[in-house]
Amino acid sequence: MTTRRQMLKSALLGSGATVVAATAMGSLGPEAAFAAAPDQPEPGVLDPDFAEGRIRSIKDNTLMVLGSNMVFHQIRVVDGTSLWKLGPVGFDQARPGDGLYARGVRMPDGMLAAESVWLNIVNIKGHVRNITNEKIHLDHNGKDVLCHVVPGRSVAVHSDAPPSADLSLLRVGQHVQIMGAWRPDTNEVDIATVFSPH
């Protein structure tokens, strides 16, 4: 069976007639695609098929990214690459200055052929310091993070209940996890999901 990763790699190496969209690769749903990941490298060490950093520039379909450890990455986005920025987005939503995490296949020339790129994604825990209909002030490791409610996008997940657009059950003082998109060079985040234990 040809895996999603093999298809991606062969397409980029030119053995495929065209760049193949991963979304067209049969019945692999998102979770199944992650389950189909190849053998992993040595635990504890840097993952060669992963990259982290901020976009310095964008040339054609390649993101030039400077890692926080000052390692430079070239990340190639193809038709099948999934991009996330508060939700699924197109490549045109990537901007210089965005932070990112990317997973893909490391090519022989060092470029990362991306399966997934998460732009500005953060997943932070903290105490709710204040809350209004539009904002949550989160105390995250002693620092204030201003989290914006995005109508039509932000949801709360109270334990195993279905996601709800109603955030009114959240309370000052309670501990939550907020997954969302950072607004570059600020202490502000747009909320995708608030996870609450109750």
């Binding site: 979770e31 389950a35 504890g44 500005n120 490791n141 996890q177 570059p184």
Partner: protein, 148 residues
């Protein structure tokens, strides 16, 4: 014959089920930029690592999984755990690089994939590790943890 007692750490009796999330550490951007390299001094978002709630007495006093009914073994920096997603079945072996998650602050929380559920936060993976078994945008997943 050695008999287990009710106070045995649950992870010594076999794989344990709980919730897994992800956290950033090491050199980073955004709200993560001040996080540091974790309790072991080696933590990096790009490495295949995790945080465990019982790496030391000091760590245990912060995380307190026992308050949620989960006794967990003392495991120190570099110890290997395997985390398997209960959603897709993907698994990853990682090494301990930090203390966490703060289990007691989320006592009773339950995550599900369909009818498959698990309760209480028992492990946090780095973004590199988590993204090998689930999309980072899922944020939280039920999982099974065993020694790696």
């Amino acid at each position: 014959m050695v008999r287990s007692t009710p106070t045995d750490p649950i992870d010594l009796l076999g794989p344990v089920q709980g919730e897994v999330s992800w956290f950033c550490c090491g050199n980073a951007w955004g709200p993560c930029s001040s996080t540091g390299k974790g309790a072991c001094g080696t933590c990096n978002s790009g490495s295949l690592q995790h945080a465990w709630p019982n790496t030391s007495d000091a760590c245990w006093n912060i995380t307190r999984p026992d308050r949620c009914g989960d006794a967990l073994s003392r495991r120190t920096c570099g110890f290997r755990h395997r985390t398997t997603s209960l959603c897709g079945g993907g698994s990853i072996v990682t090494t301990i690089a930090d203390c966490g998650p703060q289990t007691d602050l989320f006592c009773g929380e339950r995550s599900c994939c369909g009818a498959t559920c698990a309760s209480n936060r028992l492990i946090d993976l780095t973004p590199a590790a988590y993204s090998r078994i689930a999309s980072l945008s899922t944020g939280l997943r039920p999982c099974e943890i065993s020694t790696g």
